[in-house]
Amino acid sequence: MSLLPDFAHWQQLDGVLAVVTAWLALGATGVFALRRFGFVTKVLFPLGGLLGLLLSGIALTAVFQEPATAVLPLGLPGLPFHLRLDGLSSFFLLVIGATGAGVSVYAAGYFGRGEGTPPGLICLEYHAFLATMALVVLADDAYVFMVAWETMALSSFFLVTANHRIPEIREAGYLYLLVAHIGAIAILLCFGVLQANTGDYTFANMRAQHLTSFWSSAAFLLALFGFGAKAGLLPLHVWLPEAHPAAPSPVSALMSGVMLKTAIYGILRVSFDLLQTQRWWWGVLMLALGLASALFGVVFAAAQVDMKRLLAYSSIENIGLLCAGIGLAVVFSSYGMKPLAALALTASLYHVASHAFFKSLLFLSTGSVLHATGERNLGRLGGLIRFTPWIAWVTLIGVLASAGLPPFSGFVSEWLLLQSFLFTPGLPDSFLNMLIPVVAALIALVAALAGYTMVKFFGIIFLGQPREEKLQRARDAGPWERGGMAWLVMGCIALGLQPEQFIQIIDPVTRLLVHAGLGDNVAGHGWLLVPVAVDRASYGPIIFLLGVAACFLLAFLVVRLLYHGRVRRAAPWDCGYPWQTARMQDTAEGFGQPIRQIFEPFFRMTRELPDPGDEAPRYHVTIADHFWHWLYLPIAAVVERAARLIGTLQQGRIAVYLLYSFITLLAMLVLVRS
């Protein structure tokens, strides 16, 4: 009998488990090579990337398979690990694997210079992070789910605080851990409600329960709160703009691109799979929360001056859009309008994949800019397209995808989302019908504002003149960093150009969740994406791209044929003003000024304006989040006061504590007697 496992009969689930185990093993190897930079970064991280690629390959085949389950004899006695690989988890594994592959390859170049924590430890935390994210989506009972969820939070906490000698980073990490745990409590309670006093915490049991309207709503609200805290939905978003900039860039990329999506996975799993029926007001609540987050996120993103904070706020915006899409799917599903629910859900899932690629890419490029220049502040960057062209052009693709411009990936999800809103009239509730156009208008506004933000992001960093002397010595990204980013760029382009192929992957997922899919509608239209019928709506990204490219080339050739192609290089004209300096360009603050003015109620602004007679005039503006002042600081004050009250109990004298025990005993006796 061979000791080797029977590879010939391996299912996808075994393959996924092997990848997870291999990731953990890579992490453990890192501990033994704690400070060997070369080995850790040039061997372990690329291997991790390869495993990510393998995982995405396995997941790609698993999407189309029947759900597979496994019970592992691990964990506490009597509580084995239940795992399940179905369409939904395969889809998210695909996203985790494909994004993780690019980020790992990039990390091989990025961590080459140390981040304050020994590279071996970072390797352990990083691979544990990847493995637990995969386990979260595999989990089929509340116990494994919570173990994986908490390990994911902890490993990412250690990654965020990799540069733990900087006080701000420690504070950011603490805030992140706090919010993550408040969320985890809500998730735990949600599972408690879902098991309906049966004491069996497997998801299979939860699916079988028929909860009353009250308890299912309670479970949904707890899930929304718990997963919303992880995803960064309003008002639990405050950790996101602190933690993302604090973390090393590959970690920010993974957190923003992938970890936030595990929260989306959780919301989908609970509201469509574990709960049997949906209520319409859940969807309206998600729509409202999602839109509030989206608008808030994009407005704040436009006003930021730190490039990673800008991206973090943009993540809040994207999560908000995702949440709005899921909310719409819930509304449709509660009225039994399955094809429309499938359309809204497809839009959301498409955005999950597309956001994972473009946001990871953008975070990675900020990492490269940071390494090349040592600057994160937009006010000290500029003109990098001339010194680091590689980073710049790669970022441009990410920026276009993120701004939701055709023919890149962001546009497809936006298009599908708007289509699902347009098909709405026909809901049985006239209040909802009225609400939908307003919501569609807000989504359009958010999408347009995202374009503004992204022009600011790209324009201030890469275009114009360098605002600092040292930028002219900036070095372009190294080969590993280039490789990682190139992979993600390909994802953005492929998702943008081949929507009809990717929707075939999403089709089994929506069939699982809402029992309808777009696959059949989409198939058989060649290069066109047709969600319902050609005369209703269609979009052909490849024809679109070819059209623009053909006009570009024709114009280029015809001008040279009929006229000439001469170019003369000269000093910039600038209306004949010769003393132009880099400081006369628009600053990041200046670019955000119209937004600050138009959306003034969103911000808590303090302005310091100079007097006309000032010798050394100084202009200073800071913007803060209202939620800190309205919500978090009052809560913190209440907690502190309560802690002080309880603190008076602690006298530090043994006699007093004995007295407490005595009183407790007396009270117990009285209670037991009666």
Partner: protein
């Protein structure tokens, strides 16, 4: 798909390339007449383009390839936009590739590229223009989308050709939602085409210019392409307006006779629209830049109200 469809597609793009600058010339001619100036020739825009193409392109020393590629990209976007909007016929092979939402995306793509190109040189005017253009864009884009949605709610489709076919075949009844949408659309297209109450195409006054501030650094063939693209944009917007609110006279599938008739109808409609624009630009004054967000927010709200009205009244 047949030969006629491809012929009408090619004809449409060709007509757009020719009529675009003519429309600009026509509006300028009427503006001059209304302002008691001697009117320039109708073909002046073509002569200007010819002159610019002959001239050498002077590019700033540190301009990146993005700066040089942007005019071609913007031009390509606008040509494609003119090919998608049903100006002459609704039987267009390119039309299924982009519906109303993709058309708005196409305009946004052009806007983003021209703004980025404006920031590339790093002059104070360029970045200022880019910021203002994006400011107008993020308010005008959702408003335009809402206008198109009002029409697509009526036709239950976002495909522009279906919208035009449905609207052209309706009875002569006034849709209240379209009335709101038409006002909103007029406001949006004035803003998007840098026309008078928002921007002035003839100004070079630093405090007020938007579009001109962005293209200050361009010269020669690059400037020619941008100017041509701007006139194509005006043409495309006019045609969207005509297609939504006056869709009669556009040819449909398998109708060669109608295709031949469609051209004079289009020219007539554009001529009337051009005069209206010139009159409007002459009688109104340019507003302060800080008032522009209010103007566009009003357009946005009108468009949303239009959609709400449609849903309230039912179909």
């Amino acid at each position: 798909m047949n030969a006629l469809a491809f012929a009408s597609q090619a004809l449409e793009i060709l007509v757009a390339l020719l009529l675009g600058p003519l429309l600009t010339g026509w509006v300028n001619q009427w503006r001059a007449r209304l302002q008691n100036r001697t009117a320039p020739s109708l073909f002046l825009p073509f002569r200007t383009l010819h002159k610019l193409f002959i001239k050498e392109a002077v590019v700033a020393e540190h301009a990146s390839p993005l700066f040089r590629a942007a005019p071609y990209i913007v031009f390509g976007c606008m040509v494609l936009a003119c090919g998608i909007v049903p100006t002459l016929s609704t039987d267009l092979p390119l039309a299924p590739a982009a519906d109303a939402i993709a058309l708005v995306g196409l305009f946004a793509l052009a806007r983003v590229f021209i703004s980025l190109a404006a920031m590339d040189i790093g002059t104070s005017f360029g970045t200022l223009g880019a910021r203002r253009e994006m400011l107008i864009g993020f308010l005008a884009e959702p408003a335009l989308l809402m206008v198109l949605f009002s029409a697509s709610l009526i036709s239950k489709s976002t495909s522009l050709t279906t919208i035009v076919e449905t609207l052209a075949h309706r009875e002569l009844a006034i849709y209240p939602s379209l009335a709101f949408a038409s006002v909103a659309f007029t406001m949006v297209s004035l803003a998007e085409n840098a026309r008078v109450p928002v921007d002035n195409p003839t100004t070079h006054l630093e405090l007020t210019m938007i579009h001109e501030a962005m293209i200050l650094e361009y010269s020669g063939r690059h400037l020619a392409l941008i100017e041509w693209a701007a006139s194509l944009k005006l043409f495309a917007y006019s045609c969207i307006g005509l297609a939504l609110f006056f869709p009669w006279g556009v040819a449909e599938a398998q109708a060669p006779l109608a295709l031949i008739l469609a051209l004079p109808v289009l020219v007539l409609k554009l001529a009337i629209g051009g005069i209206a624009l010139a009159v409007f630009e002459t009688v109104s004054a340019k507003m302060r830049i800080f008032r522009v967000p209010e103007f566009l927010a009003a357009a946005f709200l009108l468009a949303v109200i239009g959609m709400l009205v449609h849903i309230l009244l039912g179909t």
